[in-house]
């Protein structure tokens, strides 16, 4: 195994569902993340995909300790983040940052670009006020914004430029790990391309480890080295991006890939579609056995409905999926 940079050890994040006004009783548990183990190498880009409600955002937030995990550990460079005290965690946060989906909501409308970025820089480092404008300008140049915008407010920028400011803010503390939660979903196609290029470039230049959360498979495939597919709080398939896309192992990944519309009428017409029936079940009632069995076209009861599948590879040990029938359906 290559040296691990970030390790998730059986991470679970559960939320209680309570009822009652005065006497609150727990009536159910939302198992948003339900046992995720994953090892990331330094400098790689891992794409996290899945339908809404599959727990991909919660996993991202759990890694950053914005939501403490219910069980399991998040280990960054040998240090267990879940065991840190509040102060220690605050210091450790210089190493990992987050970029959010909506660049309109994440920037303070009353702060200029300078204020926003200077605050981020000074929160983890002492910089003299004479030096600060240089730092901020350098940061803006890095994300492709002209430093002459330094005194402008967020509303004076377009969506793409705002997302650049948000990226600059994340880079301000020189992090080693960035989690980008749907960073391009709110942007138009032509702007999307700019942000994807920028993130790819930054990750290469700064040796950043990037977790790229998105529901858009074609974007994830383009930018990621590896892809992790989530379903109902678990990773069901993990492997090199191109392989997961071209020869998915798990039936769910197959359905996901075949559901992505291809902007090419010729290929689109030739393609065989596998359309899933129904919606994903509620994370309060995760089906027993393989969680995908109620929607799976390859389901083979009683095996699939009783045995919880573990990761298994077909030929390439790098690509693994949690499906009992992996060898039979390929």
């Amino acid at each position: 195994m290559p040296e691990s940079f970030l390790e998730l050890q059986n991470v679970k994040t559960h939320f209680p569902v309570e009822k009652g006004i005065f006497i609150r009783k727990q009536v159910a548990t939302v198992k948003a993340v339900d046992g995720v183990s994953l090892i990331l190498r330094k400098g790689e880009i891992v794409g996290l995909v899945g339908e809404s409600g599959c727990g991909k955002s919660t996993l991202g937030r759990t890694i950053l300790q914005l939501i403490p995990p219910t069980e399991g550990a998040v280990v960054l460079e040998g240090r267990n983040l879940s065991g840190l005290s509040k102060d220690e965690l605050r210091n450790a946060r210089a190493d990992f940052q987050m970029i959010f989906q909506d660049p309109y909501a994440t920037l303070n409308p009353r702060m200029t670009v300078y204020d926003t970025l200077a605050e981020a820089i000074s929160s983890h480092k002492k910089i003299s006020s004479a030096e600060m404008p240089n730092r901020v300008s350098a940061l803006m140049t890095k994300v492709g914004l002209s430093p002459r915008f330094i005194k402008k407010y967020p509303h004076e920028f377009s969506g793409g430029q705002r997302q650049r400011i948000a990226i600059a803010r994340a880079l301000a503390v020189e992090p080693k790990l960035i989690i980008a939660d749907e960073p391009v979903s709110a942007l138009d196609v032509s702007i999307q391309a700019q942000i994807i290029n920028l993130l790819g470039k930054l990750s290469r230049e700064m040796d950043l480890t990037l977790i790229f959360i998105s529901h858009d498979l074609s974007v994830v495939k383009h930018i990621s080295d590896r892809i992790a597919v989530m379903y109902l709080g678990r990773i069901v398939e993990l492997g090199p991006a191109t392989q997961v896309f071209e020869r998915p192992l798990h039936p769910y990944t197959k359905a996901l890939v075949s559901a992505v519309p291809v902007p090419d009428p010729e290929r689109e017409a030739r393609r065989k579609r596998m359309i899933l029936q129904g919606d994903p079940p509620s994370p309060t009632k995760i089906p027993g056995g393989c969680p995908f069995h109620p929607r799976c076209p390859f389901v083979d009861p009683p095996r699939c409905t009783t045995i919880v599948p573990v990761f298994e590879a077909l030929d390439n040990p790098e690509q693994q999926a949690t499906c009992l029938r992996i060898k039979e359906i390929h």
């Binding site: 138009d188 689109e268 919606d279």
Partner: protein, 353 residues
Amino acid sequence: MEYWNAPYFITPSLHHSVPDPMPPLLQVENLHTSFHTRHGIVRAVHDVSFSLEKGETLGIVGESGSGKSVTCYSLLRLIPEPPGRIEKGKALFDGVDLLSCSKNQLRSIRGKRVSMIFQDPMTSLNPFLKIEDQLIEPLLIHENLSRDEAVKRGVKALQDVGVPGAEERIKAYPHEFSGGMRQRVMIAMALITKPDLLIADEPTTALDVTVQAQILELIKKMQKEIGMAVILISHDLGVVSGFCDRVNVMYAGRVVESANIADLFARTQHPYTRALQKSIPALQPKGAELYTIPGMPPDVSKPIRGCPFVPRCEFAQPKCENPVELLEVEPNHGSACLRVQQKELDLTSEDLR
């Protein structure tokens, strides 16, 4: 009431000296829609013309603010007036001009012969009313059915769109449905009067890919059953390419390219369409630098004289500042690029791809 000169009194054959074998179902001519705001006149739709045959599927693609939704809202006069104003244009639907006909006549068409589904199924259903009441409303208004009969049709409609347990579910409230199921309810509601034209405004944008595939498949199936025409508004070239016969690409309130879906991709005739294709990750080799369109879409509240794409176009020349309209550059393929029209620029040649 001015029923004596109402358009339905004039049969199409009287209208044309040479009888047209198949008049199009919808013909939009020179539509201009603008919004008169405090910050000036926003020309959201500028000189848009297109036609749609019976049973045809037309896609309208463009980025946000390109006027694709306003075009369709204008057709049904759903633009809030003021500040919106349909400045000029015609939209002949089966011989009736939707833009100038009386309110009563419009009401008899809207929701009966032309239906619409919207992007967000959460906000387009009334949370206070049971699905039943909302679903059968078009039948009570347009078909004078009794409530019992209408409910029967409603249950059937829900079954058709694949809502399991329709008989009980019809009594439920919108919040008891998932996003995909709500969009199915919206579709059932739009199709319950068997319209001739369905306008779908980003019907799957709020949904997951797996559910998106289900919904698109459903619209296609219903289209085959009813034989209706569909206008699909989308920002996603992928969705459009699997679904539509023809596509209009819109930019800054104008149609810049109009073609059959295969030609749009294989024989692109406008620099904007080409730039869009080059910036989509799905069409590019993995990890390659994506093409980015420099600059930003123009501010349509300022008058645009020539081609609106000039400031961002890599092929622009000084003459591109002159007014340009959508002209046929190949059979059935329109482009609003002056240089393509004058055969100076061949975007289909290999060295440009």
